[in-house]
Amino acid sequence: VIAGLGMTDLGKVYGRTPGDFAADAVRRAAGDAGLQLADIDGLLTSSGVTGGVSVDLQRDLGLTDLRLLSHMQSYGSTAGAMVQVASLAVMSGTASVVACVFADSPLQPERGAGAVYGTRRAPAGWWGLLGASGVIGANPMYALAARRHMERYGTTTEQFGHIAMAQRSWAALNPAAQLREPITLADHQASRWIADPFRLLDCCLVSNGGIAVIVTTAERAAGLSQPPVHVLGWAQSHPGQYLRRHPDFGLVTGAATAGPAALEMAGVALADVDVVELYDCYTYTVLVTLEDYGFCPKGEGGPYAASGVLGPGGKLLLNTGGGQLSGYYMWGMTPLSEAVIQARGHGGERQAAAHDVVLVSGNGGVLDHHATLVLASEAGAA
């Protein structure tokens, strides 16, 4: 059960280290749950590109006698993986109250995010060779993946644009979102190329901040402050396709196996899902994940996204906080945090009327690490 959610100020928040954000997020999550820091006996930490979050967070928070402590890293799938490990820990009695936290602060005043995300070029060795070849960072790698899909299935940049537009419309309803001005398809098509086929509005933004959740047992959560959010199912899938010859690269992701596995564990069908929060480093990531989860047949993600099902008032309630494209970029904590908000019924203007079952994805590497969570507002939902 997820009993607490802590979110720091997110976005262009300067002067604080990732460690500062992580500690702030855990304090907020404990407070949100109605717990004292001293109640926490398990801590799982994770960090973004700038690092700076580690098991040292225990000391920063003054936590003593922890029964579970580890740093986890499977990129954008880490948040889902942390909730899985924390759930196993509380089910087994390994620990009773586990805080899971992510924090990062890549943004600096007067310096573009690209300067942070683009300076990981190694000057020597195999990674140096990749960089010297021009293949630097996530943008071209995901662009190469998306192009495969476009060439195979006829997917178009306009179809990507519908995903960007829909998420911006959701962000307009989310006070915590960084980009809330509505955009049109023409705005999307006019935005500059980052790595063709991706335009600027196909790419996630970059944020400073931290988000934590508190995982505990249903019994413990019953007496706490917030409506408990039950973790009904989970699964990971790590295909091992990246930088290897693989016929599925860019076409099929780990979501294709993890999604059905998590739903089976939860005992719910895709048709029972009320709200969908998908990892969206790029518009294309959303499209391919929708296909892999089975919301539409493989190859039809483009027409599906453009069919009018997305956005507020649409049939598919997807990335209802604006996601990482328009909301805030906290890796897997972005879809997870919005899922908790929706499952609780705390979404304000953007709250889904039906929110019994929420499907959450995490994606990392280059479509090479995946975690699915099935959350529910009631333990026996669906």
Binding site: A132, G134, A143, A146, R147, R148, R192, D196, R245
Partner: protein, 130 residues
């Protein structure tokens, strides 16, 4: 369209010796499987008895993207980046020299060429339309 500087380390020394001689070398195991150059074990059978063997230099286009750099001054510069399937099987990620991205198609024939950022830097394999 240019390649960047890259230096050798212990793992890449033999590979760059070969690129300096105009050869792209792959890893090959005793069973005959080819693996991509950085492989420490065979990607088919996990053998660690790998030796270097020159690829033919022929390849086909798997995917491409056009990265737009934003230099401090001047216009944005495009670089066509590709995944290519070498005729021996492994895939390789690099740039496509002197190509118009509007006229590319999956399966197009490519060949490996080499470029250097400068005389003091290692030769970097790139692809060109065959």
């Amino acid at each position: 369209m240019t390649v960047g500087p890259v230096a050798r380390d212990a793992a890449t020394a033999e590979f760059f010796d070969a690129t300096a001689a105009g050869k792209f070398e792959l890893r090959r195991c005793p069973a005959g499987h080819f693996s991509e150059p950085p492989a420490a074990q065979c990607t088919t059978c996990a053998s660690t008895s790998l030796h270097w063997e020159a690829a033919s230099g022929g390849a086909t286009l798997v995917s491409w993207a056009v990265a737009w750099s934003r230099p401090a001054t001047g216009e944005p510069q495009p670089t066509v980046l590709v995944i290519a399937e070498l005729d021996e099987g492994p895939w390789w990620w690099s740039q496509l020299a002197d190509a118009d991205p509007a006229n590319l198609a999956v399966g197009q024939r490519l060949r490996i060429e080499f470029r250097r950022a400068g005389p003091e830097h290692e030769a970097v394999p790139v692809f060109a339309l065959a």
